[in-house]
């Protein structure tokens, strides 16, 4: 059988899928399990926390992320912990911040790795025990983590 132009293109399109088989990735289920462990079964409300990541990133190796909680950061009312989770990197945890009220402002900035297009979830625990979350989907054109 001769290789038609159409078949050659089809093989070309399919090849990256074969090459991109990855080590065990976290799944939405493992992210949900990590979140359940963090929240300890308490209910999580949406709001008060904002997650700022570019919606479309070219390079998943270094993605700027800012997370901020609307909190007065007083001894009576402050953020005790912020956890950021992802659903498609090999591990569900990204970073955790445990601030004290002395910070005065609950805003943190870092740079993260994203192994794939995926949803990022941030959850804040406040001193009154309530939990607040924000989530966003980031599209990654060149993923991180597994390239050699």
């Amino acid at each position: 059988m001769t290789l038609t132009r159409r078949a050659a293109i089809a093989i070309g399109l399919g090849a990256p899928l074969v090459l991109l088989t990855r080590p065990a990735l976290a799944s939405p289920e493992t992210m949900n399990a990590a979140i359940a462990e963090f929240t300890d079964g308490r209910s999580v409300q949406e709001g008060r926390i904002t997650l700022d990541i570019p919606v479309l990133v070219e390079n998943g190796n270094s993605v700027p992320m800012t997370v901020e909680v609307d909190s007065p950061m007083t001894p009576e009312d402050h953020v005790t912990e912020i956890a950021v989770f992802n659903e498609r990197n090999p591990l569900p945890d990204v970073v955790r911040f445990r601030p004290s009220p002395a910070l005065g402002l609950a805003r943190f900035q870092t740079r993260i790795r994203l192994g794939d297009t995926q949803k990022i979830t941030a959850i804040a625990r406040l001193s009154d025990g309530t939990l607040w979350s924000a989530a966003m989907t980031v599209i990654v054109t060149a993923p991180a983590c597994i390239e050699s």
Binding site: N86, V94, V95, A102, G104, R113
Partner: protein, 106 residues
């Protein structure tokens, strides 16, 4: 010794919320990256960062392989007294690195 850039203001007015920046020179090897022979490059990451204001811990950060190489961190601190601001980070071998600066609040 890990190289790091630490940016802490030298002076502040009482109650001012200052910005602190930390950039650590470190590969943050994930432990998931294959070598050409198929074996994995062992994990080597900074596991945690701590900020102390006058010896009191004001922030703890847990890092994971999902943090980029050369970890970069920006956070804030309410400057209410002249004191030492120290940043400590722990590497994969458990070694604690420390950078400290004095801030004058007046």
């Amino acid at each position: 010794m890990t190289d790091a850039l630490v940016n802490i203001p030298e002076t502040a007015t009482p109650g001012e919320i200052i910005e602190i920046k930390l950039l650590i020179s470190h590969p943050m090897e994930t432990g998931f990256r294959p070598r050409s022979d198929g074996s994995l490059v062992p994990r080597d990451i900074i596991t945690s960062v701590r900020c102390l204001y006058g010896g009191e811990t004001v922030l703890e950060v847990d890092l994971n392989p999902a943090i980029s190489a050369n970890p970069f961190l920006v956070f804030h601190l309410r400057a209410d007294r002249s004191d030492e601001i120290a940043l400590e980070w722990t590497d994969w071998g458990g070694v604690v690195h420390r950078e400290a600066r004095q801030i004058t609040v007046a």
